[in-house]
């Protein structure tokens, strides 16, 4: 078995085990209703985490994700409520802005040769600041299109609801899996994470790939912002505070090596679901407090960082 599969397998087993444990305590958690809510509640996180997966696979990090989500919700709200654009047009504009924003950060990382964390830190400040310059207050979004989208869902057997945002997330994951594993772009991302020098020697267009990766992360953060605005019907500059940390945690818990090169988009999905599971369990339990989520996620993060060190330190050899 390939080494990179091991953390993924561990995540999957932990998720199944945790889910079984949760169900044994709270039998009500075994229902499509809960699963449907899982997908809906974590849709924006999942979408943002997909972008983060590509960034981390390439050996970088993107701290601007949460801020871009917040900015997008404000921009969407402003475009719809103040400029009275159709939501679809507003979404398109917001996605273009977010993508361009990511591309510029990617270009800065490549051409200025600075660590990604400091560039995306500037991006985070800029996006949060820009959002509050647009509107310091929360803007409620009221539009028939929003109401219609929020009310649409596919009924699952067992009474669960697969909402539009849930479906968007699933589509994003499906596309991202193809993109990561079945396209030249995907190979180039892994190549950069493996060794930038080797990748360049092997003909990987380093500049173009780096810019594309951060543009993709920006686009997906924008899409997560769109989903967030659909989910909450509001645009607020402080929306999705700290989501970048949840996204990073989801990616690592999903088995992606934080130093890049190894990992799977599908793992990120399980990472997101595992975080959702912890949250849902705590809600179901009622006696546990919400801060346990952070602690459990932190512990999982630590476990996976350790696991990766063990798995990737000594390499097995075939001859």
């Amino acid at each position: 078995m390939t080494r990179s599969l091991r953390p993924l397998l561990a995540t999957t087993l932990i998720f199944l085990f945790a889910y079984a444990l949760a169900v044994s305590q709270q039998p009500a958690m075994l229902s499509t209703r809960v699963l449907g809510n899982f997908l809906t509640d974590n849709a924006f996180l999942g979408i943002a985490a997909v972008g983060m997966t590509f960034v981390i696979l390439s050996g970088g990090i993107d701290l601007s994700v949460g801020a871009v989500i917040g900015f997008t919700t404000v921009l969407v709200a402003v475009l719809i409520m103040w400029l009275e654009l159709h939501p679809l047009l507003a979404f398109a504009i917001a996605l273009i802005v977010a993508t361009a924003f990511g591309a510029i950060m990617g270009a800065a990382i490549h051409y200025l040769k600075v660590p990604s964390f400091i560039v995306t830190l500037a991006g985070m400040f800029l996006a949060r600041g820009g959002a509050s310059v647009l509107s310091p207050d929360s803007i409620g979004i009221e539009h028939p299109f929003f109401t219609a989208v929020q009310k649409s869902y596919i009924l699952l057997p067992g009474g669960g609801r697969l909402t539009v945002v849930g479906i968007i997330m699933l589509i994003v994951f499906a596309c991202a899996i193809l993109l990561a594993h079945r396209t030249r772009f995907g190979s180039n991302v892994y190549a950069l994470g493996g060794s930038e020098t080797s990748a360049a020697l092997m003909g990987v267009p380093v500049a173009r790939t780096t810019i594309s990766i951060y543009a993709l992360s920006g686009f997906l953060a924008g899409l997560a912002g769109v989903v967030f605005s659909l989910y909450t019907s509001a645009g607020y500059s402080l929306n999705a505070l700290g989501v970048e940390l949840d996204a990073i945690a989801a990616v690592v818990i999903g088995g992606t090596l934080l130093t890049g090169g190894y990992g799977f988009v599908a793992g990120t999905f399980i990472g997101v679901m595992l975080q959702g599971l912890v949250q849902t369990y705590i809600v179901f339990d009622g006696t546990l407090s919400s801060w346990w989520t952070k602690i459990v996620v932190g512990v999982l993060l630590f476990m996976f960082i350790l696991l990766q060190r063990l798995v990737f330190r000594a390499g097995p050899r075939r001859t």
Partner: protein, 346 residues
């Protein structure tokens, strides 16, 4: 036992003419930047430099800048040394929350305030030690190692406060946050004392030089017989200690511990202050006073934005602009431009 000695001749090297410290200090770009920001503030608000004496302490916008900038300045003192070793500590904001939560919870449960303060400082040391162990013993990259505590730390703080904002009326804790000494606000006094002490300790002992050596070239440090691991452990522990002090100040200021918001994003401000202070993220040369100055520049901008009537969040835009300017200035691109300047080696 014969000892090999090198043929000694009287040293002829004259002490080199050094720039006078005060002039070289005043011409540093950071000082010029701070003065510029202060002057802009003064233009926006003519009373900016007015300092009054009331109830045994100074008041005024300038004092306010110092006071508000103190928590980040204190974080920056610890962060400077971490960054000098080529590391970074993302967890200091969360550690602030933990420290504040510890002190607040203990005093509300009837523990004497001095004990509570010591306990809070001890938790900070412990958090720093944890980070240091991850970095040295487990050899995890600093940014990743400290991320763990950044994520879990606020949860731990909430665990301590049981999810509520723990308010208190203990005079000692409040004094740390809002009291005054010799007319100066306590946070300013603490920051100054810590800055002076830390600078003295690293510069009067060999600690500073050895930290710089480890940051410049870890491998050469090993070959020269330095114990890099111990140094890193000390540096991260100290960063945790500084964060704990900051956490106490912030808690004392609002008379309560808010596990969710205490120190939120301050780790980033602290990193920014260090970078503005001229310490490279690639490790090596560091200056604690310059990092404190960096924190003051950030706070002076904050205050300027507030008094000019912009929303406080506008600050973030300005901060990002500052980072961008620094990045461009430090990039290889501009290095090539500046290489032609006089003073460059042949």
């Amino acid at each position: 036992m014969t000892r090999p000695t090198v043929d000694l001749r009287p040293t002829t090297q004259p002490p080199l003419p050094r720039q006078r410290p005060i002039t070289s200090f005043l011409t540093k770009p950071q000082v010029i930047a701070l003065v510029a920001v202060l002057l802009v503030n003064w233009a926006l608000f003519p009373g900016f430099f007015t300092i009054t004496w009331q109830d045994g302490r100074f008041f005024g916008s300038l004092i306010d800048v110092l006071n508000r900038g103190a928590p980040v300045a204190i974080l920056a003192i610890g962060m400077t040394m971490v960054i000098a070793t080529k590391g970074v500590d993302l967890s200091v904001g969360a550690v602030m929350a933990i420290s504040g939560a510890t002190a607040a919870t203990l005093v509300t449960n009837g523990i004497p305030a001095p004990t509570a303060v010591l306990a809070a400082l001890a938790t900070g040391l412990l958090c720093g030690l944890w980070n240091g162990i991850l970095v040295t013993v487990l050899e995890i990259q600093p940014i990743i190692a400290t991320l763990v505590l950044m994520v879990a730390g606020r949860g731990l703080a909430q665990l301590i406060t049981e999810g509520t904002i723990v308010t208190f009326s203990d005079p000692l804790l409040i004094f740390i946050g809002t009291g005054s000494f010799l007319g100066l606000p306590m946070p300013v006094v603490i920051a100054l004392v810590l800055m002076v002490l830390a600078t003295l300790i690293v510069r009067r002992t060999a600690l500073g030089l050895l930290i710089e050596a480890v940051g410049v070239n870890r491998s050469a440090a090993r070959f020269a017989g330095l114990k890099a691991g111990t140094l890193l452990l000390i540096v991260y522990t100290f960063a945790g200690f500084c964060a704990a002090i900051s956490g106490l100040i912030v808690a004392g200021d609002i008379r309560g511990a808010d596990a969710n918001n205490a120190g939120l994003w301050l780790e980033l401000d602290a990193i920014l202050a260090v970078v503005i202070g001229g310490t490279s993220l690639m490790g090596g040369r560091f200056s604690i006073p310059m990092a404190v100055l960096g924190a003051m520049i950030i706070q002076a901008m904050n205050t300027g934005i507030l008094i000019s009537g912009f929303s406080p969040e506008f600050n973030l835009v300005v901060k990002s602009a500052v980072i961008i300017v620094i990045l461009v200035l430090q990039s290889p691109l501009s290095a090539r431009l500046f290489r032609r300047l006089p003073g460059a080696p042949k």
